[in-house]
Symmetry: C2
Subunit: 314 residues, 2 copies
């Protein structure tokens, strides 16, 4: 393998889910294999079982993390997941690889193993000492929810000028560095319908979002907002914005899943490493039946490769 | 005109906006004219001016409401708008017409004229003594926001079991009567991300939405929910649901505008009359330049005709 191809790490995800299958199918995808050097960080025996199931076999380097086990308990799966992710992250931090693509993990298994995190993103934040920003990429859209897994009633209190500012700055930097956009255009949507219609319903736009947008503009960053959410995503999908930042989870995820249900990719910004993952979960109900759709994992791998190439080119 | 064609009323909307233009263009559209008998309720002189501007002229009945004036003040426009709407509604209530299609009005003009309503829908509620339910129709989607023009922070307190129940009942009845669906399928989305993920973030699903859905099912109504909003609209767009009811304005409007930006139609349910309107506003900046896109007004007229036909057939 030529040295100029990016070196990408794969984790296999939860042994009880579809992670090993979609990882193997992505490994066997020519568009992924031909443009990268891939190392699987995990249990080579788990990898072998998934390759046998999927009927596809390729030579791939492996780095052993921990035994996944044949019928592991939830606690054992949780320990396997955490150790594999930790090792992959360390390899990226050490400069041994340029990105990690993580197959889906189970929150229940993590908890059973003693790791009380909601998911990958929070673990990555802790392992790298950074504040992760979640971007979802699919179709013509890049969307960034500023709040994620909290009750809607908590969102107004969580929305601060600092959050808007920091998120937009991380998005701007990533669009330039990771997506090779020289002059990216960012939209920030309002929290309230019609972005509050001039303060008629809700003042978070005037008190929080608009002042943050003004500060960003003064830094030379091309940010527009607060825009009404119901038109901002339409215009972004038409190509008028390179990314849309939204106060709530559903504002961002509804349009993303509508235009890119099967192929949405999660990109974690603002980390010292590059990390992508598929948009779906472990789907244990269809695991180990060779039914899992690898589209999102393939797109996640392609996105990691593209980001690694763009960072090299920069 | 044969008597079996539905008799539809048009209002021309704000004389300072694009209403008169899009109304005239819809009047001249063969798909509208051939399938209905249309009467314009408003100022015939305003209609003539718009026909001259658009270069299209058809014979159309008119019922005079009030003089629009050549350069009317905002207060005069507000009075014209209110009187025209009131007369059209009365004609429908009296059985003289089967539906009204309303061109856009300006809230500022209404207020200047002494009519302090946020828009058409609230006036219609007061004139008919009913509780309007707003449905937006476009592409494969029919969406119904349970809250509209209020701050997001007020939504949790406004969401009640009664609201979910009454809204779903109105939607079910309309899907059967107006859209001729024998066994309509309705989805209700959660207020919180992932519909609260079993109470992990927010309990409005367990406390409010799920019990209301259970009551509706006991009435034999096919309602599913609370579903995560980010997947419900995708599945509805795939044809799995005939309508989606959502707690917030943006949950409903983001997917609708994404799939049907130019042709979305507003249908007011739960009234004793049939009323549709285009999804856009008065767009005063491009008014009287013959630039306005009549697509949404044409779709609004077609929808009114189809509903009137379905009600006759029933």
């Amino acid at each position: 393998v030529p040295q100029d191809k990016p070196h990408i790490l794969f984790t296999l995800g939860d042994p009880a889910g579809i992670g090993p299958e979609v990882a193997v199918k992505a490994l066997c995808d020519a568009s992924v294999r031909d443009r990268s050097r891939i190392t699987v960080v995990g249990d080579p025996e788990l990898l072998d079982r998934a390759m046998t199931l999927c009927g596809c076999s390729v030579d791939v380097e492996t780095v052993f993390s921990r035994t996944a086990g044949k019928s592991p308990s939830a606690a054992d799966r949780g320990k396997y997941l955490f150790e594999s992710l930790k090792l992959a992250v360390q390899m990226c931090l050490d400069g041994k690889a340029e990105a990690v693509v993580t197959a889906p993990i189970s929150k229940a298994a993590l908890h059973a193993g003693g790791f009380c995190y909601p998911g990958h993103t929070e673990i990555l934040g802790e392992l790298t000492g950074a504040k992760p920003v979640m971007m979802l990429v699919g179709g013509q859209l890049r969307v960034v929810p500023m709040t994620t897994h909290c009750a809607l009633s908590e969102v107004p209190a969580l929305l601060t000028r600092q959050l808007v500012y920091d998120t937009a700055l991380a998005v701007h930097r990533s669009l330039v560095r990771d997506f090779a956009l020289a002059a990216p255009k960012i939209a920030v949507t309002g929290l309230n319908p019609h972005a509050g219609e001039g303060g008629l319903f809700g003042n978070e736009e005037q008190q929080i979002i608009n002042p943050a947008v003004q500060s960003l503009k003064e830094q030379g960053i091309d940010v527009t907002g607060a825009l009404p959410a119901d038109t901002a995503f339409y215009f972004a999908n038409q190509g008028k914005f390179d990314a849309v930042i939204a106060p709530t989870h559903d504002q961002a995820l509804i349009p993303l899943k509508l235009v890119a249900f099967a192929e949405g990719v999660n990109v974690t910004l603002n980390l010292p490493i590059v990390r992508t993952s598929p948009g779906h979960g472990t789907a244990e109900d269809i695991a180990w039946k060779n039914q899992a759709d690898p589209t999102s994992m393939i797109h996640a791998a392609r996105t990691a490769i593209r980001i690694a190439q763009n960072r090299k080119g920069a």
